[in-house]
């Protein structure tokens, strides 16, 4: 047993080295004074200065953030609804199609989702004159569609774990179904809704392929800008941008993790208190 554990720990060590060395290397080289992105030429922060004074990058970032906030919000609303429906309504006409529609975008290669959205928007423009121009709206619509199913999965999992008896008790006490939804169900699944929003936000912010297909003139999101720059090769200011993004995300994820663990602990403690008081 001892030898096998040593082997597994070695693999874990190498695995994490594999996962983190490229990122660390990128961070180190973002402070490289040399114009050649891969040759070390002394310490410098000039690429950060040039990055932050590049209005193209800032505009793309603002556009990406706008799309991500709007699409994550709509995706969370629709995805939560779908998650609740899948968990609570076991029988209704068209349920099979519904659950198929909720899982299909997950297994669909992005290229296919992208090209079918693009052809759809072009045909709609042809048939009903909308959308007149592709850009913010079309990207946002496509992002809502493929990120809402991730929210659905998270919410659905949480719903299946939560105790139905509380909802039934509220019904017995005379609450209307939608009151139960707002007073009981939504507060209970709120951690899942928050994680769902965060996931949808990240997916939208990170998306390249679907944005590439559904974008139009003048709507360059940050990933699209990076993609077009990186196609030409490694450049020092992208290293700086990458470092800033990795640090922001790293701090955000760690903070969110800590906050959520604390909230979960407090909730469990409160539940225990409540049950003890009932005895």
């Amino acid at each position: 047993m001892k030898r096998s554990t040593t082997f597994l720990m070695t693999v874990i060590g190498f695995g994490f080295a594999f996962l983190y060395i490229p990122i660390l290397s990128m961070i180190v080289y973002s402070f490289n004074a040399s114009r050649l992105a891969t040759v070390w030429g002394g310490f410098s922060t000039k690429w950060y200065v040039s990055l932050l004074s590049n209005s193209q990058v800032i505009d793309a970032l603002v556009l990406s953030l706008k799309i991500a906030v709007v699409s994550a919000t709509f995706a969370t609303i629709l995805g939560t609804m779908a998650g609740i429906v899948l968990a609570r309504f076991t029988k209704f006409r068209g349920r099979t199609l519904f659950s198929g529609l909720v899982t299909a975008p997950l297994v669909m290669p992005e290229v296919i989702t992208g090209i079918s959205s693009l052809i759809f928007f072009i045909m709609m423009a042809e048939w009903i004159g909308w959308p007149g121009q592709r850009g913010f709206t079309t990207i946002t619509l496509a992002h809502i569609t493929f990120s809402m199913v991730f929210v659905t999965i998270i919410v659905n999992a949480r719903m299946l774990q939560s105790d139905r008896a509380i909802e039934e008790a509220a019904m017995d006490l005379g609450s209307r179904p939608w009151q139960v939804l707002f007073d009981i169900t939504l507060p209970v699944i709120s951690p899942a809704i928050i994680s769902g929003w965060l996931l949808a936000f990240t997916i939208s912010l990170d998306d390249v392929v679907i944005s590439a297909f559904t974008t139009g003139p003048g709507a360059t999101t940050l990933p699209l800008l990076i993609w077009s720059k990186v196609k030409l090769g490694v450049t020092p200011d992208i290293n700086a941008l990458a470092t800033l993004m990795v640090l922001t995300v790293g701090v955000g994820v760690v903070a969110a993790g800590i906050i959520m663990t604390r909230a979960e602990k407090r909730r469990l403690a409160e539940e225990r208190m409540a049950f003890r008081n009932n005895d």
Partner: protein, 304 residues
């Protein structure tokens, strides 16, 4: 409270209708309908009009020519083969690296395990594009990493085989390497989830009955983790086969993968029916194995 007719309707079934209807309509309009348009487009005829397709004419309604080209033209067959081989190799490598990592994660103490799991997920939250980009920096001719590999190689092999740098960029090797890097968390997480649920007393029982550690792994642990292997495999294989971004940045342009073909047929050749037929074929290649597996799994669960 004033109870309007709308209020009563809403209480009885309106809210259910709204709850089901909103996401349902959304997915039908923006996911199912676009896909049906692509299906219809794949049997249309390419014409020099705008938009560049029509139904009828020489091939009334259904034109299967795009599909026959998918299976006869070497360009498409080669692209499908490249995609499937690259995705398969990436999947197997992810499994070989991810399995021992996931198994190792189940053996460390609970508090350390949460930190390590967070470290597995963290790269997934950072930009996908920048993870690809990080490897471009490492694989390039002048990078420290390439230099290190070059020196190691030159030290190990006879002088005649010495190289000035290891040619990594712009090859299928680079595509597979970056795919393994970006998709590894997708393999580790489902494997970890299925391994964590296993009962350690089974291992102990097998050990007590005289099995060697490797036998225990082969006879007890591995068979029980098959669902995790399949889930992780699909999560890696499907996006890898349709990958567009990674080959565009580190791949060999003369050996395109299928995603690139779809994009080129659509944008450069303006042959929408062809692009649609390739997309539908790719989807069938992905979906049919998934469906067979889920049916097989449902049946084996039914017999339990």
């Amino acid at each position: 409270m004033v109870r309007s007719r709308f209020g009563r309707w809403f209480d009885l079934k309106g809210w259910t209708l709204l709850l089901i209807g909103a996401p349902y309509l959304w997915l039908v309009a923006l996911f199912l309908l676009p896909f049906l348009i692509v299906m219809a487009m794949s049997v249309a005829t390419n014409t020099p009009t705008a938009p560049p397709f029509s139904f009828g004419g020489e091939h009334p309604w259904i034109n299967l020519e795009p599909y026959s080209r998918v299976f006869s033209d070497g360009l498409y067959l080669r692209a499908f083969l490249t995609s499937i081989v690259n995705a398969f190799v990436a999947m197997v490598l992810c499994l070989l690296i991810g399995y021992p990592m996931a198994l190792g994660l189940t053996r460390v103490s609970k508090s350390r395990r949460n930190i390590l799991l967070m470290l597995v997920i963290l790269p997934f939250w950072t930009s996908f594009l920048l993870r690809v980009y990080a490897w471009m920096g490492l694989m390039g001719k002048n990078s420290w990493f390439n230099g290190l590999l070059t020196e190691t190689w030159n030290f190990l092999v006879p002088l005649d085989w010495a190289v000035r740098s290891v040619p990594m960029m712009y090859s299928n090797f680079a595509v597979v390497l970056v795919m393994v890097y970006t998709y590894l968390p997708f393999m580790i997480l489902p494997l970890y989830a299925s391994l964590e649920r296993l009962d350690p007393t089974l291992d102990e029982a097998a050990m007590d009955l005289g099995s060697r550690p490797f036998q225990v792994f082969w006879d007890v642990t591995l068979p029980q983790s098959v669902p995790g292997i399949v889930a992780g495999g699909m999560l890696v294989f499907i996006p890898a086969a349709g990958e567009l971004v990674i080959p565009s940045l580190v791949g060999n342009a003369s050996q395109p993968m299928i995603g690139r073909i779809i994009q080129d047929e659509f944008a450069q050749a303006r042959d929408w029916p062809m692009a649609s037929a390739v997309a539908v074929t790719l989807l069938i290649l992905m979906v049919v194995p998934t469906m067979i597996y889920s049916r097989y799994q449902a049946r084996s669960e039914g017999t339990k």
